[in-house]
Amino acid sequence: MDYNIFEAVHEQQSSTSDMDLSEEDNNPFVGTHHLYASGIGTTIGEARPENENSPPSSSSLPSSPAHSSSAGSSRASTSSSTSSHAVVEADAETEPFVSLSMSTTATISKFTPHDMNGTQQIQIIDAGDFKDPWGKHAIGYVILYENNKIIRRYSEFHSLRQSLTRLLPTIIIPPIPSKHSLLKYIWSPINAANDSKIISTRKKMLNSFLSNCLNIQEISNDIVFQKFLNPEFNWKDVLSSSPIIILPLNNLLAPPLSPTKPSPLHSILPIPSNSSLRNYNSIWQQHITVKSHNEISNLPTEILQNESQFTHIENLFQNYKRIITHLLKNIRSNKSHFHSLSTYFAELGAYYNAFSLENDITMPNSLRESENNSNNPMMEIISHIEKTGHSFDVIYISSEILIEKYTSILEDPINELLQFLNESFKVLNFKKLKFLQFKILERLIIEKETKLSSLTEIENQLQKINESLTRSTILTDENYKDTKAADLTFVKKDVRSLSKSSSNSSSSGHQNEIHIGASKLNYETSTPTMNLNKLEIKQLTEQERSKQIKQLNQDLSKLKDCLSICISDMLEINNSSYNSLMHTYNHINLTIGKILKLFAASFKAWIKECLKNWKLAKLQIDEAL
């Protein structure tokens, strides 16, 4: 422990004032830093009730007075002079953003998933500039968990997630927002407005990530995850310590549920190539239809039965992915249409204002100021036009809020769903690769068994021949032996080197790279190799044969052990990943339901706001008639 959070918080608080001056460009909270500063400054005891007391419905409260005041101020500034349209637009553009950022922070508590008891277990309460133990400035996310405040950086979330995927290959790890592409950085260099938007999105999504993780038992029980949420641990140290550094390079070479404790046999398992995943379905079909006589190929019935469930869920997820991708595309295009529409509304608001001031073309300017507008229909119409303009102003502002919600309620969560689906496919692929691994082992065993059987057969035959020969005359025996020996020495030289390398690589298998190559070769070009093997076998000497048989028997027992490990792995993977898939499936459905509900609510609020305004406008127009 070399870093005290509260010291850092204090440091940040005390340095906010000069930070504003010196690093205004980098500080994303320009204008709102007081809110954040005080939020960080409060002690845990004070901060907690504050968060709990804000009910979801209050999200509209902080925003609505902001609208009316901003609308009111823009109104006041326009009615004073005609030439201030620019001022109105500027007002309308800057003012809502303040209220927006406030309203989005309020909606976070509304959207983040809750656990079973309905209380929030974990929350990212703040995000902002902080100094890491090495004095470097970075954006830190303040996590509130079990009365502890933990500050972690985005990159730390990223590495946590990465570690989790390696630690728990059968579990669908909740996604986090993706990294910025370097290109994006080049296109839009860091600026305060842009940055604060990214940060607030990340804050929300990281919050969602943590809540999702807590809901998954395997993750919340994981020691690495627990260390992440423990301020006692420096993340760098966690990353360079026990469970993570002893992780195998490939999860296929470790027991799926405890990859840090591989058996010696795991390390010699073959690794199927990712490209072979493409043939998975046909291989599986072949496996279950073509009844091989070897009992080795028999998978436990459980696995066979599960397969249809997996295929079903995979198809389901594929369809989800397809539809949701389209959905997201449409939502994005709708959002951009909506946005340009709302800018037209803003313009309309301004022009109606101008209209209201220019409408009367006969009344001299001097008259306008002095005349009381009680009975003059021309003065009345001014207020009607203005009221209409006001309606458009309000629609613009509430539309902007709704558009913001498009991002927070629709776009980001749906994007998260897509990531969830993609993660699910990764877990499914892991399961598939395990099966392919099994198939390689199976193939190797069958090969070796055939080789062994042909060797033993020849051995038997030779024995029989020898027996019969010893019983028959010596003359013929000598002749036969000569020709046989000549035969053997003749071919031996040609085949020797080839057979040696091939048998070495296929039997020993301690070196992975060679192993992959060999197994792949065996796998795809099995028949010619078999023929070659048969040919080889016939041309081996007696000593070599017995050596080979011995070797083969050794290999086979090893391979069979591997196979049984592989099968038990498969069973573990199936159980664990099926549970995780179902969990994800439920999560997706729940999230979709939640998205619908939340969107309906905010859409309704938008409609109400617009309706209220038009009714008000209409009322004023009617009163004059």
């Binding site: 022009y351 209209f355 229909p377």
Partner: protein, 423 residues
């Protein structure tokens, strides 16, 4: 300017008080509806669109003083008929702001979609605006041609007579052309202000009009988005059905909301496109018509100013002749002297000539002054009237704009309240 016109001007101009424009004695309710494609005359190849014009009024002469005044008079007219009415009114009431007709829209003729619903519906609304404006005008609404147009069952025969009566006023055209580059010397301040303000207003209305065009286009793509969104949700619902009935039901409810939204938006857009934008366009045209009248007024003013210039010159010349050698005519006189012309006699003759000219000019100037002043007065009265009609129109169109928005939002609110409750 006809004698009748002059009399009208002098008599009417006096008893008008500003800001309280004359109201027509009768009210009218005119609805233009039901545009229908008709096959044209055997001669012409293309057809035309006929509009149904329904009138209700408290002017009993429209019912030939018999029949039920509550009943509705229905006639069918085509665009060219309205154009004829417009031109006749323009011809007979030169001092009035004649409400404008919608553009001829040549492009639509070429593109061949002048029978499309969008085109005819928009034109329908615009024609209705035109007839209503005419009916609100104290003089125009009482003209014989207006009545004939609205009630006649035998319009075909009337049309031919009216067409023949319509002689293009060549004088006005040439006058207008000649005076095109002249400007009024002493412009009434009021008019300067009116012109400036109307220019500004026109720009604003044009801008709003353009913005609404954009809004309509965006609304179209929005409603397209919602349709696509709806089909996506439908797909998702189908996928989920059988797996998760609860979610499927939710999606179905949500999708209904989206569908309602899409339909509602389409209806609102239709209103904006077919009616509100047309109202705005008509307002622009109306402002234009008013400007035309001011231009005409300016010409009368220019006539008067030219005349008065001429008179001043003539008087000056006469005075010079009387007082002996005029500075400017010195060389001319010298030349005449050299030519042996009797100076004294020619001078007297000239003075006589000039005196005659001055008398007639003074008379004409008086007349022109009367015409110009009368025109100016009439113009101001017309502008007042225009203002009141415009105000009423804006009020009405804003009211209906608000109504349609309320209707739209209420409709989708109802739909989404249902969605929100059921989720």
């Amino acid at each position: 300017m006809t004698d009748k016109g002059k009399n009208d001007l002098t008599s009417k101009a006096k008893d008008k008080t500003r800001g309280n424009p004359e109201k027509p004695p009768y009210w009218f309710e005119i609805i233009v509806s039901d545009p229908q494609k008709r096959t044209g005359d055997p001669g012409s190849s293309s057809g035309y669109v006929s509009y149904q014009i329904s009138t209700k009024t408290n002017n009993t002469s429209f019912y030939d003083n018999r029949g039920d005044p509550e009943s509705i008079i229905v006639v069918h007219r085509r665009y060219s008929d309205l154009l004829l009415l417009h031109d006749i009114l323009l011809n007979r009431f030169p001092t009035c702001i004649i409400p404008p007709l919608p553009d001829k829209k040549v492009f639509q003729y070429i593109a061949g979609d002048r029978f499309s619903q969008r085109f005819t519906q928009k034109r329908c609304h615009s024609l209705q605006n035109f007839l209503r404006r005419v009916s609100l005008h104290p003089d125009l609404s009482q003209s014989k041609v207006f009545k004939t147009f609205l009630v006649s069952k035998d319009w075909e025969s009337h049309r031919k007579v009216l067409q023949d009566s319509l002689q293009p006023n060549k004088d006005e055209v040439t006058d207008a052309f000649m005076n095109a580059f002249k400007t009024v010397h002493k412009q009434n301040e009021e008019f300067t202000e009116i012109r400036e303000k109307s220019d500004k207003l026109d720009r604003t209305v044009t801008k709003i009009d353009k913005l609404f065009h954009k809004v309509v286009k965006k609304n179209d793509s929005m409603s397209e988005d919602y349709t696509k969104l709806g089909s996506n949700l439908q797909e998702l619902q189908e996928l989920v059905t059988g797996e998760n009935e609860e979610l499927a039901a939710k999606l179905k409810i949500f999708n209904e909301g989206v569908t309602q939204l899409s339909y509602g938006l389409q209806d609102l857009t239709k209103y904006l496109d077919y009616e509100y934008i047309v109202d705005l366009k008509d307002l622009e045209h109306y402002i234009d018509s008013m400007r035309q009248l001011i231009k005409l007024k300016d010409q009368k003013q220019i006539d008067y100013e030219e005349l008065s210039d001429y008179l001043t010159r003539s008087i000056k010349e006469k005075n010079n002749l009387i007082s002996g050698y005029g500075g400017s005519n010195f060389f001319a006189n010298k030349l005449e002297e050299l030519a042996g012309i009797n100076q004294e006699a020619s001078r007297r003759e000239k003075i006589n000539k000039l005196e005659g000219k001055i008398t007639s000019l003074t008379g004409e100037l008086e007349n022109a002054k009367k015409v110009a002043d009368g025109f100016e007065q009439e113009c101001l009265k017309e502008i007042d009237h225009f203002e009141s009609v415009k105000t009423a129109e804006i009020k009405k169109s804003l009211g209906s704009l608000a109504d349609h928005h309320i209707e739209f939002y209420e409709r989708i609110l109802e739909a989404w309240e249902k969605v929100d409750d059921s989720l």
